[in-house]
Symmetry: C2
Subunit: 241 residues, 2 copies
DNA sequence: CGGTGTGAAGCCTTTCACAGCA
DNA sequence: TGCTGTGAAAGGCTTCACACCG
């Protein structure tokens, strides 16, 4: 078992927004991006089911995660063959494998850049800590905001970023600044050694190869909904990748 | 020109999360979902460029939107052939066409459900109003929150939802409740006649066919970044669809 | 039996490359 | 000449369907 599929992609070759090429380095069995994007859904579903059952079928997991059973099986087959035919998957084992794969056994300290409405909300958002992401630094450029407290963190000036990143081992930067400042902040993050960025600012941010970037654009989401309203079509599964 | 491509999909058949089938109704030239998801990017880019130039090439637009020029041309060819060979696209004209296609010439009043940290931040978020989405109602179940004001809106009890939706013509519901309440709130929205929902709660929400649903899960985004950190791969373009 | 694991098929999306037009 | 518009090719993802095994 676990033969590494033909008829299933081998090398998604993910390209950073900066879009440079680079030689293939990493391990053999590469998990497709679409699958990676669904692992958090499975993880969430598995935690929900954990105190109700010790095993789970692809069918059940699919329902809880809001996807199809075939997808679940294909996706999970990538982590290895952890299911038992005729029975299903062992929930506990699967939780372990998925969280290992997602890197949730590590600690990834988060810094939030830009402490306006959104930044403050993110800093207080329980969903982050609930899923193991600790916010360890808040940064802003506005002198009036610097020094104020949000929860038990003080807002620091952006000049302190390199020290903060180093001292607190910041692994992920969350950009919650206005669009105009986003690129500059991203550059500072990268310069400070941060290699993963989540951008909430409604603008394109470019990062060098080797830095991961994802974006969330709230107004864009509404505009997409608006399109489908206007056209009497439904949005799809919203799988988001 | 404008021959409606072979070698380019005809019927994306978008399925709601509820996943029911339904007969094809709508218009002829169907815009692929991937294209729809990029229209907001082009729209943003076009507004940026509008006061610098009257025309724009696919190359320039691609750079500003963070995509490839081939994509821009393919995507725009769907709205009709609005470019001029050897010159590019007329910015003003394109803005008009894209915003018409996105339904931005209409008004889509927004209700926010759940006025916690996130809900409050969304209510104050300038990015919504800046792009023409007016927040017209705030709803919460907590008696302590109901009656308080956020900006110039009072928080209303969830029982008032049907009246609010009717009176204020709410077209889009934004769910910012805890996971436990999300499905119930979605059901109420649907019952009240809302046919577009943006879900921020970290849980699967099911809606009947005919209702559009998109989701934004903040912790999921961090987990995806975590995966790529752990695996020394980069996230891709983060195109998000 | 029941449910996983997976080739194969089909579909959608991206990319290529160039004909054709202003 | 320069850039759009678009067939065609390539790539990736989803779905199907069933062999296989506990």
């Amino acid at each position: 078992m676990h033969k590494r599929g033909i008829g299933w992609p081998r090398r998604p070759a993910p390209a950073g927004e900066a879009g440079g090429e680079e030689p293939d380095i990493t391990e053999d069995r590469l998990i497709p991006e679409a699958t990676v994007a669904r692992l958090p859904l499975y993880y969430r579903a598995l935690l929900e089911i954990a105190d109700q059952s010790t095993t789970v079928s692809s069918e059940q997991l699919a329902e809880l995660a809001g996807v199809t059973a075939a997808k679940v099986r294909k996706d999970l087959s990538f982590l290895g063959s952890y299911g038992t035919r005729g029975v299903g998957y062992d929930v506990e084992h699967l939780v372990r494998e998925v969280s290992r794969e997602l890197g949730l056994t590590h600690d990834w300290p988060v810094a939030i850049l830009g402490v306006g409405n959104l930044g403050r909300a993110l800093a207080n958002y329980r969903g982050f800590s609930a899923r193991g992401f600790r916010v360890v630094a808040l940064v802003d450029t506005d002198p009036a905001t610097v020094g104020t407290r949000v929860g038990d963190l003080a807002v620091e000036p952006v000049e302190a970023l390199p020290a903060l990143v180093a001292d607190r081992r910041v692994a992920i930067g969350v950009i919650a600044t206005p669009a105009e400042s986003a690129q500059a902040v991203a550059d500072r993050l990268v310069a400070a050694g941060v290699r993963a960025i989540l951008n909430f600012a409604p603008t394109v941010v470019v990062v060098p190869p080797g830095v991961s970037l994802r974006k969330v654009d709230l107004a864009t989401e509404l505009q997409i909904l608006s399109f489908y309203q206007q056209h009497d079509r439904r949005t799809r599964d919203a799988a988001r990748v």
